[in-house]
């Protein structure tokens, strides 16, 4: 069976929901659908804790937000995109306020803001430390108001249908029934989020398997800056649960095994009792995570059953502040570590958190492939450059979700209704359906488990493409991935039930993740410099002569990757030195 819409949005997280509302507001005549492999309010945006940055205070300025973002991104950001972003972020955030988001408030009733890592001014809006949760639920509940938005909840998209350089729809499986359907559209917006699950230790939810990146890559759209993987300095050991940067913004300290605030040894400023913007614990994430590795090499971290850790000290903040501003941090520590941050030190270590790279788009969310748009973490616009600043991603998904929605609406409205010849598309869809049915029916047990290959892939990525990389480590990683790719067809799917077959989904996700992993490692190998989150021991310096450029990775017809280096767009902020704590 085939369903038809004007616009199909893949992903019901913050970006997808915002895009859907933008489409309806731009053109209520269009039929728009959200396809999501989980119910929208389960999307990973729900986990975001700390906050969302947007200039709102008189003493702040758009230029300063832009500068913090650009220097934080080690000058790899496209500055026209950043300017559009900082300009629209406050408007988007206010809209969200008008839609009912329960932002924390000042006593006089205005929205409150808090400091955040890498930001020179106090501009991060927050809803206690459940910002993403409130943002997502507000967007989802508001989207219910629009009856025009059709939803395919718990449908998994397996393929983009492309013909003559134009996207015409998707193929998706309905989880509850196992039905495989073709859903055609004049425009498709990818909002599928990031790919942290490619690594073993991540803050990312189980669903963050980089599907959209791989789908776009396979369909011929290039990925941009994939080598930039953000490690967040403070994850709980074992679970990888994030302790938000807000904990440090409120005044938390990072201590090594001697109780020493070690960041002062890494050119991040001198310790003060209270939090200082762009200094020490409020430095950018890449630098803090790198400092951890150096501390570990010096033997000054603490050994635990789940690896080396340092301590996050919140005790001096007191129960009252922790309960009002960081309630979730306390809840998570109590539940998952059985410790109370009011009295105890919190063990933390760097953890894979965010993908700066993604499907390459222009500042309207359009990819080079006609009819294909992308927004949110899956996309690379790029405003995050080589290192995203904390609290920039939530406003990003609002600003560029809305922009992609509007652009796709315009594109779709301009397309003729029948769209010409569908036979090629339907053949493609039929092939895809056969492939999936073969997977479901044909793959008898006896082979390797999905989890075996997944675990090996994750280990290879951590060893080869972690916080510090080298030509050697990455070559090994690439070999390992190649070997895993060859083993992939032999993976067994024991589950032949059509209803809610999560083993089939896991196998499909694994295939997509391998593509993403390869694009990360391939891009990283070719970038012979250190910039932001991409740190090479064999090329420790930034090289603006060769690499003030994006890596754009395409998939060639034979499946092999091909990388180009289009220049970074510089408008007003020429590359400079990143200075923190001075």
């Amino acid at each position: 069976m085939t369903y038809t819409h004007d616009i199909v949005i893949v992903g019901g997280g913050g970006a997808g929901l915002r895009a859907a509302i933008a489409v309806v507001e731009a053109n209520p005549q269009l039929s728009v659908a959200i396809i999501s492999k989980v119910y929208p309010m389960r999307s990973h945006t729900v986990s975001a804790e700390g906050g969302a940055a947007a200039v709102i205070r008189a003493e702040d300025s758009l230029d300063e937000h832009a500068y913090d973002t650009i220097s934080g991104g080690d000058w790899l950001c496209d500055q026209d995109a950043v300017e559009a972003f900082v300009d629209e972020a406050p408007k988007e955030m206010l809209r969200l306020e008008n839609w009912g988001c329960p932002w924390s408030r000042e006593p006089d009733g205005r929205v409150a803001v808090r400091p955040f890592g890498g930001m020179k001014r106090i501009r991060t809006w927050f809803a206690a430390d459940k910002t993403g949760f409130h943002l997502l639920h507000t967007l989802f509940q508001t989207s219910l108001k629009y009856e025009e938005i059709a939803r395919y909840d718990e449908w998994f998209v397996t393929k983009l249908l492309v013909e003559d350089g134009r996207v015409r729809g998707v193929v998706a499986i309905e989880l509850s029934s196992g039905r495989i359907e073709t859903i055609t559209a004049k425009a498709v917006i990818l909002c599928t989020g990031g790919c942290g699950r490619v690594f073993p230790f991540t803050t990312n939810a189980n669903i963050k398997t980089g599907d959209g990146m791989a789908l776009a890559y396979r369909a011929g759209a290039p990925l941009k800056d994939m080598e930039f993987v953000q490690y967040h300095p403070t994850g709980l050991p074992f679970t990888g649960i994030l302790i938000t940067e807000a904990a440090r913004a409120e005044g938390g300290w990072l201590l090594n095994k001697d109780g020493y605030r070690y960041l002062q040894d890494y050119d991040l400023g001198t310790p003060q009792p209270g939090p200082v913007l762009r200094s020490m614990e409020l430095g950018p994430r890449d630098r803090l995570s790198q400092a951890f590795v150096k501390e570990m090499e010096k033997g000054r971290t603490i050994d635990t059953p789940y690896g080396q850790v340092v301590h996050l000290d919140l005790r001096h903040l007191g129960a009252k502040l922790i309960n009002t501003k960081l309630p979730m941090v306390r809840e998570l520590c109590l539940d998952y570590e059985k410790i109370d941050p009011v009295k105890d030190l919190v063990p933390v270590r760097p953890v894979v958190h965010y993908m700066m790279g993604g499907v390459s788009t222009d500042i309207h969310g359009a990819t080079p492939l006609d009819g294909l748009y992308a927004a949110g973490e899956v996309a690379c616009v790029s405003i995050n450059g080589a290192n995203r600043l904390g609290s920039n991603s939530l406003p990003e998904l609002l600003v560029f979700g809305a922009r992609a929605g509007r652009a796709a609406a315009e594109f779709a409205a301009a397309q003729p209704d029948d769209g010409g010849d569908w036979s090629g598309i339907l053949t493609q869809a039929e092939d895809e359906r056969r492939r999936l049915e073969r997977d479901l029916r044909g793959r008898e047990g006896g082979g390797e488990r999905v989890s075996t290959i997944r675990t090996e892939m994750q280990a290879a990525m951590e060893q080869g493409a972690g916080i510090y990389r080298s030509a050697d480590s990455m070559a090994k990683c690439a070999d390992a991935l190649q070997e895993l790719r060859e083993r992939l067809p032999g993976v067994s799917i024991d589950d032949h039930t059509t209803t809610f077959n999560t083993e089939l989904i896991a196998a499909l996700e694994l295939g997509l993740m391998l593509d993403v992993a390869e694009s990360i490692v391939h891009s990283a190998r070719l970038r012979e410099e250190s910039r932001g989150a991409h740190q090479r021991t064999d090329f420790p310096e930034r090289d603006d002569v060769r690499y003030l450029a994006h890596s754009l990775i395409h998939r060639s017809a034979d499946g092999s990757p091909r990388v180009e280096y289009p220049p970074v767009t510089i408008t007003r902020w020429p590359p400079g030195v990143r200075v923190y704590g001075r």
């Binding site: 069976m1 085939t2 369903y3 038809t4 819409h5 659908a33 059709a150 499986i173 309905e174 509850s176 029934s177 196992g178 039905r179 495989i180 359907e181 055609t184 569908w422 339907l426 039929e430 359906r433 049915e437 479901l440 029916r441 059509t498 209803t499």
Partner: protein
Amino acid sequence: MSDTTATSHVGNQPRPYRRRVPILWWVRRRSYLLFVAREVSSVFVAWFVVFLLLLVRAVLSGEDAYRRFLDWTANPFVLALNVVALLFVLLHAVTWFNLAPQAMVVKVRGRRLPPVLIAAAHFGAWAVVSAVVAWIVLG
């Protein structure tokens, strides 16, 4: 959504399994049992109304009738019934006052009163009313 083509597919309609709630669902869990006991207390509330009206009638009919009423209350069956009724009515009172703060939000100068305080106020009122009633009855 419109169908433009129809092709066969592997998926079949899901066949969800519906479980029936057993008739005596509330014996399964302590908390449910307590809930049903609380609800059943209402029967004893009704019984008390009957009892009270019998008392009033007896008192109004004169000294003898009142005596007969008192004798009747000493009948072991009636006594046992009233003991049980008292237990249920106490259950009702305690659960009622405990739940009261959940249903009402009292604000004093913009601040919500802590629920324990509201519950305490209810229990206090209960003590006062009981004392006054006992004092009136016993003279």
